[in-house]
């Protein structure tokens, strides 16, 4: 399949033997001017890039006090070293979170601390050379901003912030990443990551209505741009386009149908994802988030609900109000925004859905906690709701549910290996290797409990697993949407 070796799945996740520079060749395609300019970044590496980069770092240190603390606070205790899925999968010591961060921290020390200015060698400070920039580009695209290492850091250093800051600096000097930046440009131009224009969305949704009618005999609607609907559903565009995502979208529609909630999708805000987060660019994040507000106002909805997308939920839950609020025009009885799992869970609690669990009896299911949902957000109104709510939904729609080992789920969940703007074919080696810890945990429940399906609530996780499962001896269709399982179990009432 490819010119690299898939790591061996063992009984336990060992500390790997170190292979220095094992992944120094891994770099995503560099962006071009046509993808850089719509985002406000230079089209190619600027002439005085060192000065620009150092000035940008200074600006970020001023603006983001967290970053300043993260630069100063690390004591090299080593607690993070074996917490990164990319380190486990690649054995490259620079993928120990502390070592990766030090690629930026060493430059920070050189230009922003007295000891580093006067005695660089003594304090591990280094000049920002072309070689260092190259290492930044390589290794800060080997961090999926999943923040697992941060959970174990005694100082609470948010390593994702370090990656985001470095990517922001690289964009400022004109060395952006093609995958993320091309996608953000498509959101600005067309409204979603895929570049699906309104007529294509309409055609796709009409096809889904026909499909559900054929399958169930019931007219379930998948409305687009319908003014006056109660709910605006903002979902990743992969839900329209790809498998297994689309079965989740079918499920959302069935839930709304059964609950008698009028809803609509929007062609203007036809994307939940916000790659502005991945590249650490608040300006671009804000521009993307504003589209959700504009669509909600234009359509006159009362509630905003987000579909299954991990980092979208982080941006929505944690930042939407700051980026695009206030949302005082929405119904104050509902949280702004809501997650589709909260909606479904609430309906199940109230007995508003009839569910036939036996429809999923051919599956034995486990749940993959997506990193941004697990470690950067919440669901419901109790701590840990982001862990219990999806599981309670799964237990309500499946008779056979099993968790993976506790140190691989919940707050300690392992990234799928494709998050944070790395879900691109030019990083396939990294993606396959980074999936190792999750694949090890899945193998364990597959062997011990006979688990057949991995359910997720993130478009990136779903695409990543569909791609990497076969490398580890599984089938690509063993990954499913949580709302696909809801969709299969829900008993539809034609009268609604």
């Amino acid at each position: 399949m490819a010119d690299f070796e898939t790591p061996e799945v063992k009984e336990y996740l060992d500390m790997p033997g170190l292979k220095p520079d094992a992944m120094s060749h891994s770099q995503p395609f560099v962006s071009r001017d046509e993808f850089q300019e719509p985002l406000g970044f230079p089209g190619e590496l600027v002439d005085d890039w060192q000065n620009v980069a150092i000035a940008k770092l200074g600006e970020l240190l001023d603006k983001n006090r967290g970053l300043q603390v993260f630069m100063d606070a690390c004591v090299k205790c080593g607690a993070c070293t074996d917490k990164c899925h990319y380190f486990h999968g690649t054995s490259d010591p620079r993928n120990m979170p502390v070592a990766r961060q030090d690629l930026l921290r060493s430059v920070y020390r050189r230009y922003f601390t007295w000891p580093g200015r006067l005695f660089p060698k003594l304090v591990g400070a280094q000049d920002l050379t072309e070689e260092v920039l190259d290492q930044w580009y390589s290794y800060f695209h080997q961090c999926s901003e999943c923040r697992r290492c941060s959970v174990y850091c005694p100082y609470g250093i948010d390593t994702a912030e370090v990656t985001m800051a470095t990517r922001e600096i690289m964009n400022a000097v004109g060395k952006g990443q093609k995958y993320s930046n091309e996608i953000i440009g498509k959101v600005f131009k067309i409204g979603n990551n895929l570049g699906l224009p309104q007529p294509a969305l309409q055609d796709t949704l009409e096809g889904l209505e026909e499909e559900v009618k054929e399958d169930t005999g019931v007219d379930v609607r998948y409305p687009l741009d319908e003014k006056g609907a109660e709910v605006l559903l903002v979902t990743p565009s992969a839900d329209f386009f790809a498998e297994p995502h689309v079965d989740g979208l079918i499920g959302y529609g069935k839930v709304f149908h059964q609950a008698g909630i009028s809803w609509t999708l929007s062609s203007h805000a036809s994307e939940a994802a916000n790659f502005g987060l991945f590249i650490g660019s608040p300006e671009n994040m804000r521009k993307i988030a504003l589209r959700v507000r504009e669509a909600a106002e234009e359509l006159g909805v009362k509630r905003i609900v987000f579909g299954e997308c991990g980092h979208a939920w982080r941006v929505a839950y944690s930042f939407l109000n700051t980026l695009a609020g206030p949302f005082d025009f929405l119904d104050p009885r509902y949280p702004v925004p809501q997650h589709i799992c909260e909606v479904t869970h609430d309906l199940i609690q109230r007995g508003a859905l009839t569910l036939d669990k036996s429809a999923n009896d051919h599956r034995r299911v486990t749940f993959h906690d997506s990193c941004n949902v697990a470690r950067a957000s919440r669901m419901g109104d109790t701590p840990g709701g982001q862990f219990t709510i999806p599981r309670e939904i799964l237990r309500a729609v499946c008779n056979h549910y099993y968790d993976m080992p506790p140190d691989t789920i919940g707050e300690a969940t392992f990234c799928c290996g494709g998050g944070g703007g790395l879900l691109t074919d030019d990083l396939m080696e990294l993606r396959v290797k980074g999936a190792l810890p999750r694949m090890q945990a899945l193998r364990q429940v597959a062997d011990e409990e006979g688990v057949t399906h991995l359910a997720a609530i993130c478009a990136i996780c779903k695409s990543q697993f569909a791609k990497v499962l076969p490398y580890y001896g599984f089938e690509m269709d063993q990954i499913v949407s949580v709302h696909q399982l809801v969709s299969d179990a829900i008993v539809l009432d034609p009268a609604r």
């Binding site: 995958y179 996608i183 895929l194 294509a200 329209f240």
Partner: protein, 110 residues
């Protein structure tokens, strides 16, 4: 890596997708398949032709369900599923078939 067909050179992007959609021809498609060590038969062409027709109308490749449904109608219900499409295009119908059809690569979380 530009692609050469009958002495003419066509520009492609980093991943081998045609830079200019208007450069496409059946010969170019076959040459691209050859680079990947495969060849195109009539089943591949059914998919490629549908992709091009759809793109012409909607300026985007069809979603997987739109594609499977259309292929099912044309070639029979046993072929209207993504398993069949993956047999034809092992690197994924969305990406590999788009490449041979001369369409841009689908971007995003796919």
């Amino acid at each position: 890596m530009p692609i050469e067909v009958n002495g003419k050179t066509y520009e492609t992007d980093e991943e081998g997708y045609l830079a200019n959609l208007s450069d496409w021809s059946e010969e170019v498609a076959s040459a691209m398949a050859e680079v990947d060590g495969t060849s195109l038969d009539e089943n591949h062409w059914e998919v490629i032709n549908f992709l091009r027709e759809y793109y012409e109308e909607y300026q985007i490749a069809p979603a997987v369900r739109v594609l499977t449904k259309a292929i099912g109608k044309k070639l029979g219900p046993d072929k209207g599923n993504s398993k069949y499409l993956y047999e034809l295009f092992p690197y994924g119908p969305a990406k590999q078939a788009c490449k041979y059809a001369g369409l841009p690569k689908p971007t995003g979380c796919v």
